[in-house]
Symmetry: C2
Subunit: 321 residues, 2 copies
Amino acid sequence: MPLAEFDLIREYFSHATASRDDVILGVGDDCALLQPPAGMEMAITTDTLVEGVHFSPGADPEALGHKSLAVNLSDLAAMGAQPSWVTLALTMPASEPEWLKGFSRGFLALAQKHHVALIGGDTTSGPLSITVTAHGFVDSHKALRRSGANVGDQIYVTGQLGDAGLALLVQKGVYVPENGLPQLQQRLDRPQPRLAAGQAMVGVASAVIDISDGLVSDLGHICKRSGVGARVYLEKIPISKEVTKYLQTGGHWGTVIAAGDDYELCITVPPAQESTLETVAAGLDCDLTLVGEVVAGSEVTCIQSDGSVVTGVTSGYQHFT
Amino acid sequence: MPLAEFDLIREYFSHATASRDDVILGVGDDCALLQPPAGMEMAITTDTLVEGVHFSPGADPEALGHKSLAVNLSDLAAMGAQPSWVTLALTMPASEPEWLKGFSRGFLALAQKHHVALIGGDTTSGPLSITVTAHGFVDSHKALRRSGANVGDQIYVTGQLGDAGLALLVQKGVYVPENGLPQLQQRLDRPQPRLAAGQAMVGVASAVIDISDGLVSDLGHICKRSGVGARVYLEKIPISKEVTKYLQTGGHWGTVIAAGDDYELCITVPPAQESTLETVAAGLDCDLTLVGEVVAGSEVTCIQSDGSVVTGVTSGYQHFT
């Protein structure tokens, strides 16, 4: 792609990004220059979405713009960090103004919503792929790690699980919903990073992770890093009407707990923080639901309403990840 | 690619990265946690290399590992920043242990050399592509921007120009060197980011850029941002024996000044700093050569030894970039 076209691409991102005092120099030099806040730790994460792997050819560019940023902000949320700056590395086969218009609209709208500045990036010719690196800040020694869970902690999740997984089944033609498809699709395409919830958990939660690969897998990461096990009660997991209907008509729980792409948070809370949690939860913009507890061991055990243990869920649904 | 293979990939990068006190938490959680130094500005840059665009299929993985980091460190060098942390987003069609071994060796060796910590990343399945985001620090208000050049400043370049461009011609079968191919190839594959030179220019230079797209194009960026023009004397440009031979046998100057991939620095220095510059230059690990001066206007003019002006160089060689 000639350079001139890349200049064109830059145009789409040069406006409407959040203005922040800590951005000394944005796009246009060899590097961006930033002023980190004093006395805080910086959180950095990077995630790539590849066409044909993370999304289908022909996917809505506006949704892609949203999601490529959202999955990164979700990682910041899981540390309790406030997002500040992002870079965008965009590789695309050709310069398509309509596609770029949609993509930048989705990307910049979410950036504005969370007061995030796009400080730099790279645009290259090649197979469609999007890499975002996101930066944020959290008070020193306060970041929410995966490694802090202890036996006796309660396990919570934000929002509802399974809508994104069910939307994938619908996309693949495996399941036909009675109605509610737009909502499911929205939950798959436009995950809302739980930034406020994550930040509210600072000083309250013992461990947090975002649910990108499914509750069993991601809670498993907390267990591994914390040296504990977990029990999850399926009947307690918050699900939508559509997912309820799906399960009632023979659907598999794996779609809820192992299909991923929910971008909700999984949170462990020590008993001593339960009363604080109640206060905090009341002020959140999303539900917080108790789904299980941290136990001794190293496994995530899922228990059905009749008391029986669900097995084989993780491996059976790994093709979703 | 199953998750297990990605864990395998992470293995290759989990060792031998520089250990730094300011890395509070590295790879393995939702985000890395870092402690920015007080009283400094942060410099951030990101660059992508795509197979078939920036390198040929079958390119030496160790050289690729080196180059994907080097081009980013070169941007930090151009701001006068000290590198600190990098993230790596690696997209590859399949997990190939031998390729990964080579790539990580090249990447980590350069990271170690410049005391840079690999703090996180993402490994995804897809067409081969490498995105690195590099972070560094520079004293507040001291960063070397493109916008500071003034009429009367002298223009310098580090090292030698044209070897990488000539190596590309050799690769394409357009030119057959008598000897010296390994050196040329080395200059194309293993650019050495001029970090020490860049840092030494803090407080001395008025503007700096790294030469990734060729001297004419990159000096043109300084001119545009500074609102000035530039005169460059071709006979003063430092070139290797091999490039001298190439030019003597009918080669085109565009290979030297418009072919790119040199990753040297182009530096403008105010007259008042000339004596300081001499002292600084004596302590550098690379040559610093006066090649022209900043003038009124908006164009980069290249002048041959007979006083005539070279025209059409930039556009003629844009296919190299």
